[in-house]
Symmetry: C2
Subunit: 159 residues, 2 copies
DNA sequence: CTCCATACCGAACGATCGTTAGGGTATCGA
DNA sequence: TCGATACCCTAACGATCGTTCGGTATGGAG
């Protein structure tokens, strides 16, 4: 922005405040993406929308997303605790989609839910390292979900 | 190791050399994990073994794995190029397992291979951020693969 | 015992970084 | 018109970091 470093201190109190604000904005963006999912959609559709939303935030706000996903570890004190809680809440909301999917019978009743959620979040979170901003992230999200939902095994499994 | 920082310079030429050596050791470890997969195993078994091997390296050599997965980005010059090639070769070897699985009919012929590989690598690479060293990584790998292979959709899909 | 290589220490240098202090200028309401 | 406020600059400080250099202990080879 063409501003000298010293000038920043009329707007912030210190470096930590910057990290905190960016991390908070990240939390807002990712939660907002989940808020945009229609309540009456079917579970698998919700999961797909969640992946779309997550990847879209990563692509459109790469710096903010990087802080939310990675750099938040350098937060300290009560703000770190608050962030961790907010982040856990996000993961919880993702997990809720899977639970709902199982309860409504769209997902297998014997699904390893925690493994599935971890898989979902891994794909979503790792994306910040390779996602190209001008890529079609919606399509990518759909392809991820297609593999996750339908699996990889051949229709005719040879014993 | 109780050694002063200046003393290091009798063993290395600079900070970059350290990064390079750790990154190289990471490459060796991850490739070695793939080398340990029996050639005559069935594709899905190979994929499972690959996930086991990857997670095991992450758990047992967390620092080395972190460099291989994340910090290699700070390499510069021809060594960076060499590392990127080695890393791409690793991803290629993972991809080969999936291609083999499709060709031998164990995986769906219409599988979105690149999405599947990316999903596999995302789960494997993101693990370094949360994996607890004393966890049973083999079991975790199996559960990941179970979801990936069999999918999440309920057996009876309600239209 | 001498000699030499190996390994480590302690102190210092230069660069960078986060921060503070002091001063300058434009804007706006009283 | 005046004063306050917002905004930005330059300069400097202290801390940290990567690196260099001279000195010192150890230990085996001749």
């Amino acid at each position: 922005m063409g501003v000298q470093k010293g000038s920043l201190y009329h707007h912030i109190r210190g470096k930590e405040d910057l990290l905190w604000e960016v991390a908070s904005e990240g939390a807002r963006s990712f939660h907002a993406a989940l808020d945009g999912i229609p309540d009456d959609a079917r579970p698998i559709e919700k999961i797909r929308a969640a992946m779309r939303g997550h990847l879209r935030v990563v692509a459109e706000q790469l710096d903010v997303a990087t802080v939310f996903i990675q750099e938040w570890r350098y937060l300290e004190g009560p703000r770190r605790d608050e962030f961790v809680a907010e982040r856990r809440r996000y993961e919880q909301r993702i997990g809720d989609l899977f639970r709902e999917g199982r309860e409504l019978g769209e997902l297998r009743s014997d699904l390893d839910e925690s493994a599935a959620v971890l898989l979902f979040l891994s794909a979503a979170n790792w994306a910040y390292t390779w996602l190209h901003p001008d890529r079609d992230t919606d399509d990518l999200a759909d392809r991820f979900c297609a593999v996750l939902v339908d699996g990889m095994r051949g229709y005719a499994t040879p014993s």
